[in-house]
Symmetry: C2
Amino acid sequence: MKRHVVGIDIGGTKLATVVADSTGHILNKVRKPTLAERGPEYALQLLFDMVRETVVLAGLEQKAISAIGVSCGGPLDTKTGIVYSPPNLPGWDALPLKTQLESEFQIPVTIENDANASALAEYRFGGGRGYNAVLYMTMSTGIGGGIVLDGQVYHGANDSAGEVGHQILVPDGPRCGCGKRGCLEALCSGPAIARRAQAAVRKQLIDGNASTVLLDLAGGRIEDIKSEHVLEAGRQDDVLALQLVEETAYYMGWGIANLVNILNPDIVLLGTIAIAAGDLLLDPIRKTVSEFAMTRPAEAVKIAPAQLGDALGDLAAVALVV
Amino acid sequence: MKRHVVGIDIGGTKLATVVADSTGHILNKVRKPTLAERGPEYALQLLFDMVRETVVLAGLEQKAISAIGVSCGGPLDTKTGIVYSPPNLPGWDALPLKTQLESEFQIPVTIENDANASALAEYRFGGGRGYNAVLYMTMSTGIGGGIVLDGQVYHGANDSAGEVGHQILVPDGPRCGCGKRGCLEALCSGPAIARRAQAAVRKQLIDGNASTVLLDLAGGRIEDIKSEHVLEAGRQDDVLALQLVEETAYYMGWGIANLVNILNPDIVLLGTIAIAAGDLLLDPIRKTVSEFAMTRPAEAVKIAPAQLGDALGDLAAVALVV
């Protein structure tokens, strides 16, 4: 009988369960809102039901499932499978997620933080295939990272490796969600780009020389300007938007150059915003990396958009167990 | 018969060959000046003779030697064993060092850049024993680095991993030997500390408020002030020297915090200047790391002086083959 697995993707707003075959092909999927405010007991019970439902919908019996992979916001301990208070999951304090799933389904469960699991999925099924040293970087609400070396997630001393978004570039820069200042994330995440765009438009208005389409794209409200509007305006050759893209690329390129010098990766795969932006953002990032990194590691590295797109969350969980 | 190895340490000013037993215990050593200006042919012939001499002085026959380890300035390719124009070895352009040694002695040769070999030596024989993720950082003429994961040097895509001294912290900062600006090395290497000290003393003299002992320690000549004098003056509670130490610790701590976030090491071992300075420098470094790094990886990491001291060069070469 063919070996199947279940993947569980736990986010702050939604839960997803999938059944996949041994090649990572997804047979079925169930999604539900996390309703994080109801706490972990509710979510866990919901997940138990969702797993069973997904297996049934895939036309399988539960005994056809050999393992469960879980992609979840960290921090978490991959060995014990305990989740420690992820910012997006209030009340998940020292939750023994692995043990609870294993005792419910009596099969091995592997849990991994979402950035690491995504990096592994890109290595197994996406843009990282065939490379020995893969660095994956999310670029959305935050800037997370996962490092895959010789096909294995690199965890470090206590599962905290790959916090690439919290390297500090500008110690007196904007406040980061982590409490420090001037982290790469505080400069280049979606909200950080939006914040810089809003400030720049506000300045244009005060200076009386508003010439950007950004405000129109956001329906006339400065506080509704988002990183998507910056990319859209940039594609229309809006001067201010292109400046904001250049600035973002400068900081991203600087941060990636440091990572290239330290990790000497074969490939750096950038998610979400970088996928949406394409070469508008990637080309100036590549330029900054080649200026700021040492010649040898800069020559060795490819900088490319991540490939799995919307399938990433599902495949992240699946990649842990196929 | 006991298995012995030869270690070769190739520096820009001196060559050393040692014979060690299988536990890394060094039986004998020969040192000669590199005379780098005479080029690689001369150095190579000299090394052949030195290896033979060391083996004889150790009371061994050549057949008792099972392998040769070579620690050499990079860049170099550990697979092919070719050395590519190290800055301190003029004329060593694409030199097939491994092949030439293997054809001379008919035993396996492993070559490694000196920072990586030193990191491995600290893992095998020094402060890194028992740790899975070890980061070693030199702190002398330059700031190099070596990463040892699960007992293996981490090389990256093309043997360029661990260039931790060239992470850029201040893009408009002082010029680095690598051609960029504001690398950690341009802020915290011995020459960088000396340069900052000289500038600070010059300023005090111009301002007419010279109160530091730095100038006396350097024999009255500003241009002779070295990093050693800064440490010595710091130990005498010289205010200016302590400011310079604090500043150095701030940049080192910032750079190490970034590395802690990225690599999540069990231990960071700091060489040369940090060994000489001890807690005078290490305590403020630890303070900055705990301020700038994420809580979890900061809690996991120890920051300590490297342990092998003067024996490091010899053991670096030996560690590659025992």
